[in-house]
Amino acid sequence: MKNERLSSWRCRSSLSLLLACTALIALHAKGAPPPQQTNAKEELLSLPGEIGRSGGRLVISLRAEPKTLNPLTAADAPSREVIGAMQADLVHINRATQLTEPALAKSWKISADGLQYTLTLRQGLRFSDGHPLDADDVLFTFHVYLDENIHAPQRDLLIVGGKPITVRKVDAQTLVCQFAKPYGVEERLFDGLAILPRHLLEKPYQEGKLGQLWTLSTPPNEWAGLGPFRLKEYVAGQKLVLERNPYYWKTDAKGNRLPYLDELVFLFVPSADAQVLRFQSGETDIITRLGAENFSVLGRQQRGYTMTDAGPGLEYNFLFFNLNDLGEKSSADLTRKQKWFRDVRFRQAISAAIDRDAIVRLVYQGRGSALWGPVTPGNHRWLDASIPHPPRSVERARTLLKQAGFSWSAGANGESTLMDSDRKPVEFSVLTSSSNADRTKMATLIQDDLKQLGMHVQVVPLEFRSLIDRVTQTKEYDACILGLASFDADPNSDINVWLSSGGTHLWNPSQPHPATAWEAEIDRLMEQQLATPGYDQRKKLYDRVQEILAENQPMIFLASPDILVGAKNSIANFHPSVLEPYALWNVEQFYFRNSAENASR
């Protein structure tokens, strides 16, 4: 009893101290005291869910240091994860329901022709430095995202029918976005477009320095955002500390301003195994992006934490062949091999011979699903259920190879070797990323599967960057195993993979004209669905894309891992989702159940 009272007293005292501190900082910065109680003039968003208690510091590890805090240039996963907790968008995709919901815009209206979107901002919102938000900030934001010199990765999404969207201010709270063509993505487009503070960024933008701004070492007073947390401290090579944003625009059902947590700490822990050890020892509170092996290790010795399998995610792993047309630069060896790779029956035979169930069982310990297309079972809205799931059949593979003119010759050791129509043995190498143990394992399994067809496959683990260089730049490779994880469940997040002109159209990237009829057909379908409003119509078009992919097998889809996370039992409101960021998407609602735990830290 005594203990309990003591800790609760300590908690209250530290809380009031903290309140005093934040008040002081805010006074110093802006003069306006941060609103602790909700203000009648503010239109705040009230979230359902458990009512929590304030305080505490949540520690989570990142695999690498984020490269930047600038949402305009962030492309790596750690940066996106950190920025996600510091910034906000107009319309947000709820990671649990995968549907859109109002965020900074309290409502939006789409005109009947689908060309005009009218957005209304919430009233009385402030950036994390206390500066008020208005339509000019939004105008400025769109302006810089669309600026070619900035090279924002989101820019492509804002170009519709070859023309950038135009944004017009109606009044201080209302904006109109004008599209050249109807846009299939609809309001999902606004998700992830962080609204930027014009009062801080306009001057550097005019000086052309915006792209280099907001590195990790930015002083906190030169930074502002609309997310639940704001910048506090960065220790190079160690950690990034965020603190509660006192102006955040969400409340819980009782009207208490969110977030509950005082601090959010990102530790930089370079290896997956080290992350597991830190989590096991209680140094970190949440662990995400776990591999199945470490998940089961942690699951076996649970001490004060719970492991959750959130279900199939959006990552799809696949094998693909080099189908680039290299012309004269191509080596004789590769030209010979490409004759096999270009034959759809060869690719179908390989797909038929691969034991996907073994991949799911041995690589993911059963925590994953076999794939026959790019859309994983985790994305039920867009999955084409009619795509066939043929079981593994070496017989069918042999028949297909025979039809394609291959034959077998008996080797000296009694094992048969597959020969092509020129009586040359079928041998090729498969690249995998040496840092990804899962994919190297898949390659070793496939190597054994294809040995039964008489193919001699060599697995070449390569450092990730030189692998990407080979696949997209020099194009000197036979085959490769890679994985892609979409940001969003919408098909447009992967549009650069499917368009023949896309840079991540991995088997033959950035083509001036589609090389094959089926690639041209996919181009047409993808562009059509982009301009078609309405889910049902688009679903039909995208289903056709999935069918063409399954038929032609430019990528031989293998398997998709489940999203595996772990969290301390004391963290409440923890609902991991299969969309990025898997755990922190509702970090503003997290709180610690027992106050003793907060106080001790």
Binding site: A272, D273, V276, L277, G291, E293, N294, S296, V297, R300, D355, A358, R361, L362, Q365, G366, N413, G414, S429, L431, S434, A437, K441, T444, L445, Q447, D448, Q458, V459, V460, P461, L462, R470, E476, Y477, D478
Partner: protein
Amino acid sequence: MTQPRKFARWLIVLLMLHGIVAAAGFFAPYDPVEQDRERPYLPPMRVHLMDARGHLHLRPFFYPLRLRAGSFDQYEEDTATAVPLRFFERAAAYHLFGFVPSHLHLFGASGTRIYLLGTDTYGRDQLSRILYGGQVSLLAGLLGAGVTLFLGALIGMAAGYFGGWRDDLLMRIAELFLALPWLYLLFALRAFLPLAVSPLEAFLLVVIVIGMVGWARPARLVRGVVLSVKERDFVRAARGFGASDVYLLRRHILPETASVLLTQAAILVPQFVLAEMTLSFLGLGVPEPMSSWGNLLAALQQYNVLVSYWWMYLPALAIVPFFLGYLGLASALQQRTSPYKIEEKSSWSPS
């Protein structure tokens, strides 16, 4: 008096150990690359003489393991059926010593498979992989030591015998080689090679690299011996009779370096086996699915393997008898040629 016998004893032990590895096909029950995908990370099976009901069997037997429902790597013994261990079983084809085709294995079982040392992540038999992996590692060690000693003897003799600027030049190069960060050298070398390297090429590369970098130390030792031997009376006498350099080196000097070279060989072989293991551990050795002791241990780089599957440590134990054998041999050799004996011998020679 006991020295020669001690020496012979170590030699016999080593020959037996190498014989087992050389005849891996016979001692290993299965093909080392064959995957049993239903049984990943199966723990070592127990061989019983007493069954679950307390009956004694004359023939050793084992109980097959089956996966516990809903788990990935938890197995339990199925005591309903006892599977007898069968000796001199005909199973998977292999080539004994690399060329004699055969089907005969020391032991095996019919109907189900026996894994005395468990399986790895793909369900491959760990015992077979250790035995076959030993072929790669030991051969790399032996060949590497051979290359090293050959180079070392050649360069050491040239430096010691000819002396002068040639001695200076060769010894400075030797020092350079001693100071070389050979692991990084290998990384660099690997980057120049074509992408896909066949297992044989990778193996030869490893042998050449570890052979090339190690010659400096034996070269310096040989040089020291040659320096002292070339001033001995019998060498001077032979030279006085008009013997040529080649004749002198071959007939009188080389035999004197033999004991140094042999001792060095016994020390270098395990050292180079270890070097091969280091390279394979880092993924620079023979590629999957071939095994070597180094890439068997590479599985331990993963934390989950480290804490969950103790039998994955066994390849590390496999090297212990070999190392003991070689080090025992080296010390026996050293005792045989201990300095006071040389003095004893030389005190008899009239000076």
